[in-house]
């Protein structure tokens, strides 16, 4: 996406959500908007309905854990198929209160993606029709992708850590 298109998109967002934008950057030419957590669903709905932007395809959503600043960021990536524009929106939630409204009313694809994010990071999506674990076993109590949990199963007996350089 060239700079003029990026400028145009940022202005489209600024029209309605001037106060909620934290920062705008463009790593590797990919427009990324860091946004305040409160108005994320109205923003995505606005981009969905906007007659020029038409971001009606949800590419991906995931969470990122930043343990030093105790935040869990949510990344939403949208794609406008008509114009071939891509945009990434990130919001930042506190680690101990990672709650955000659900996107399933706009995109049905967000259903399982949010369940996966809940399973891995413990982010609660308000309004989700069926928020429970999807990939891990049902009775797991920790959220394994958070940085404080180890990768290996600590109860295994057959692999000696010193042989693997741990």
């Amino acid at each position: 996406m060239d700079n003029t298109t990026q400028e145009k998109l940022v202005n489209i967002v600024r029209e309605k959500f001037e106060n909620d934008i934290l920062s705008v950057e463009s790593p590797y030419n990919f427009l990324t908007i860091n946004f305040k957590r409160d108005n994320i669903i109205p923003l995505i709905q606005y981009l969905y309905d906007h007659p020029v932007a038409k971001f009606q395809y949800l590419t991906s959503l995931c969470a990122i854990h930043f343990p030093e600043v105790k935040q869990i960021a949510m990344m939403y990536q949208l794609h406008s198929l008509v114009n071939n524009w891509r945009i990434r929106i990130k919001i930042y939630l506190p680690e101990d209160n990672a709650v955000t409204p659900t996107l399933t009313k706009i995109f049905s694809a967000a259903n399982w993606m949010e369940r996966e994010t809940y399973d891995f990071y413990g982010v609660n999506f308000q309004g989700h029709p069926d928020l429970r674990r999807i990939l891990n076993v049902e009775d797991m109590i920790i959220f394994p992708m958070r940085k404080e949990y180890p990768l290996e199963d600590q109860t295994r007996e057959d692999k000696q850590d010193f042989m693997f350089g741990r």
Binding site: T32, T59, I64, L81, D130, L135
Partner: protein, 403 residues
Amino acid sequence: MAEENINHSITAVEDSKYSTLNLGPTHPATHGIFQNILTMDGEVIIHSEPTIGYIHRAFEKLAERRPFYQITPLTDRMNYCSSPINNIGWHMTVEKLIGAEIPKRVQYLRVIVMELARISDHLICNTVISVDTGALTGFVYLFQFRELIYEIYEEICGARLTTNIGRIGGFERDFSDTAWAKLDKFLKEYPVALKEFENLVKRNRIFMDRTIGAGPISAERALNYSFSGPNLRAAGVDYDVRVMNPYSSYEDFDFIIPVGLNGDTYDRFMVRQEEMWESMKIIRQALDKLPDGPFFSPNVPDFYLPPKEDVYNNMEALIYHFKIVMGENDVPKGEVYHCVEGGNGELGFYLISDGGRTPFRLHFRRPCFIYYQAYAEMIKGTNISDAILTMSSMNVIAGELDA
């Protein structure tokens, strides 16, 4: 275990006219391990409750502990039917992060390998659809050609299925003469066999009656469920990452995007069939226009292992080799997203690097995981035999579903 999930969103289970059928996780019809608990009224499906995660191997957490070149074998095992596409997609992501310039020859060779992988993935899916309708002949005859493709992979990288093909920056060796000879043999013999298979099923009354109208999905619902790849193209939307966001010189090649009408099983079968023909066209064009040049990019010394003669004779090469293998090279910080057209759709890699030797966060945008959600909606109201066909025509690969 998973039986407890059935009470979450089912309307009338206590009603005695409905029966419950457990499909999976080990079932010959589900090509992969995932479970569906079906509530049925006779043969018609009222509700289905999918459960996945039976092969969850924690790829994303594992990737946070591995240096970049060690993540390639992980990507192999996601969509294991077309693993070169995953490998090359990952290499391109890292090359985008470090800003490497890849020579034209490498890009064309990558295109040839990726299209071969696409042919092998679609081959499995189409023959399995025909097996599920009862036509086992296609499976037995066409699998011989998968052996030919495996032999080509073996010449290039040494492995058959989980290839770990190429390196960050190119290929580890140029394709040998045997590889070119085998590729020519494949391109000569495969169209004959594919045409025979097509003549068996394409206008076959039984096959068409079975598959037309089985598991349809409209274009609007498909877009809302973020479908991509052949499943979306069968519904009528011509979104192909190779055309919309071209990578690795795909813009130099001339090919069409086959698109279906109704999004049912027949359309998905035909889209994959036509894509195999288009892939062969692309491979022939790449072979004709293949430029000369290096088979690796010379300006990524921090990631591409130097040749062994230099390592043993040259101090600088020895140091580079040591630093690459021990993982002491620094990587630029940043976040990058790169997507390729995998066998099932838009396969995306979202990589955040904090400068260390391993990624800070790596998220795989797996097309299977995203479009399998729609399965429950697609089979509501159909018979169980159509549901089985729909599942095999969607080409759900368990490794990509769970990661």
